[in-house]
Symmetry: C2
DNA sequence: ACAAAAGTGTTGGTGTTACACCCATGT
DNA sequence: ACATGGGTGTAACACCAACACTTTTGT
């Protein structure tokens, strides 16, 4: 606190003096939508501190990988997925956020299609939890999770990130259901559909759903790139 | 790369094994508007690497301070200011971004009123530079600066962050000039003013400018909190 | 025939854009 | 009197919110 504050320019001396360095991790908020519920993947902690509480999956940054690569690696370990929508959320670094040592964590959020995720039961102590009724979380992970929901909503208002939650072919109701789940409110069907079509967010495949006990719905595919900026709400 | 990848849960062992930890810094993008130009504060590097190039002011995180505190400390060192608009931008962590050692940097951007900044000439090798014609920057600071301009614009579209650039009392033209400078384009005066008034972004003080060689302008003050969310453009 | 979800248009109100002239002051 | 920037209203258009009935299929 009262020791010399090294200037950025003098990093060589800083190294020689071996000042303490913080640990740096990535933590992942892995979102999916399933059964009209927004869910995120949590891992139960098996040791001190916060043993038994649920935590966001995370790992340490390795010296030769970028932050995004670390996030992708962690995501792959937990879900078997690659090439999903992934975005840096925020960096959390209060000194007391981890009682063991100084840990700065870079949060990333990922949007995944539930059907494409490797069966999570293969992994010990990993489960999907509703974002709307989270258990008690370890460290400051509740703050991180809350913030990630805010950012997810902001992103989905003006981009096509929602494709991530859907299979290749989907109905307009599927699309709308995602929005109603994530925003936890209803939208007018006619107005919602009009916008999806006018802004070329969806593209007709010519196919229809089969085997449903009501009128079949047209199937659409994405009409823009994943994550492209378009006003949706 | 092929060594064991420690799981988050096993941090105690990780510590004992003394894996390398990255250095963590904050870098600041300190914006101001002066003479119809968007400017940011740069420091000339006086040693390897990139000696002679300009760099964003930054410093190392200390073990007992939060990221935001580190950013405030750095801002104070360079400008003498406290309590300014300050927001985390993004965290940059490519392994090769600094040739000396692994450095992860958390970018923060600050918006300051030029008149309130301590005279920068007191400090060696620190200068304001136009964001629209930056010199060659050290490290990946050009990328950081570019991204910060994008984010500054996004923020100013829907919040009152622009108050930061203005004195307590200002004219509607002053406010508009800030926007025209930051967005590098013109806005219709009547439409712009209508919105500022209708959304209570400005509040009449009853005073007028004095000593100008044209019609005096009404003086306003901020009508909302700094950084409050309101659509402005 | 009934249940279930799909599909579809119009209207009134609101907000946005584009545009031109007079006013108050200092020199 | 001139130069300089300050101040103001309106019309056309685009967008948005609210609203209910018919269609297609499976059981």
């Amino acid at each position: 606190m009262t020791q010399e504050k090294p200037e950025f320019d003098s990093l060589e001396e800083y190294d020689e003096e071996a000042f303490d360095r913080p640990s740096v991790t990535v933590d992942l908020i892995i979102f999916t939508v399933k059964d009209d519920d927004l869910k995120l993947l949590l891992k139960k902690r098996d040791s001190w501190p916060d043993e038994g509480k649920w935590a966001l999956p995370g790992s340490f940054i390795e010296m030769d990988e970028s932050l995004e690569d670390a996030a992708k690696r962690t995501l792959h370990e937990k879900t078997g997925l690659e090439d999903v929508y992934l975005e840096q959320l925020y960096t959390f670094g209060k000194p007391e956020r981890d009682p063991r040592t100084r840990v700065i964590t870079v949060g990333y959020y990922a949007l995944v299609n539930y059907e494409e995720v490797r069966d999570v039961d293969e992994l010990e102590n990993i489960e999907w939890h509703s974002a709307y009724s989270l258990p008690e979380l370890a460290f400051d992970h509740e703050e991180i999770a809350d913030y990630s929901i805010e950012r997810l909503r902001a992103k989905m208002e003006y981009s096509t990130a929602a494709y991530s939650f859907l299979p290749e072919k989907f109905t307009l109701s599927d699309f709308q259901d995602i929005y109603e789940t994530v925003f936890d409110r209803e939208f007018d069907r006619r107005n919602f559909r009009r916008k999806l079509k006018k802004k070329d967010i969806v593209e007709d495949t010519g196919e229809k759903t089969e085997g449903v006990s009501h009128r079949p719905a047209k199937l659409y595919r994405k009409g823009r790139e994943l994550g492209e900026i378009v006003e949706i709400l």
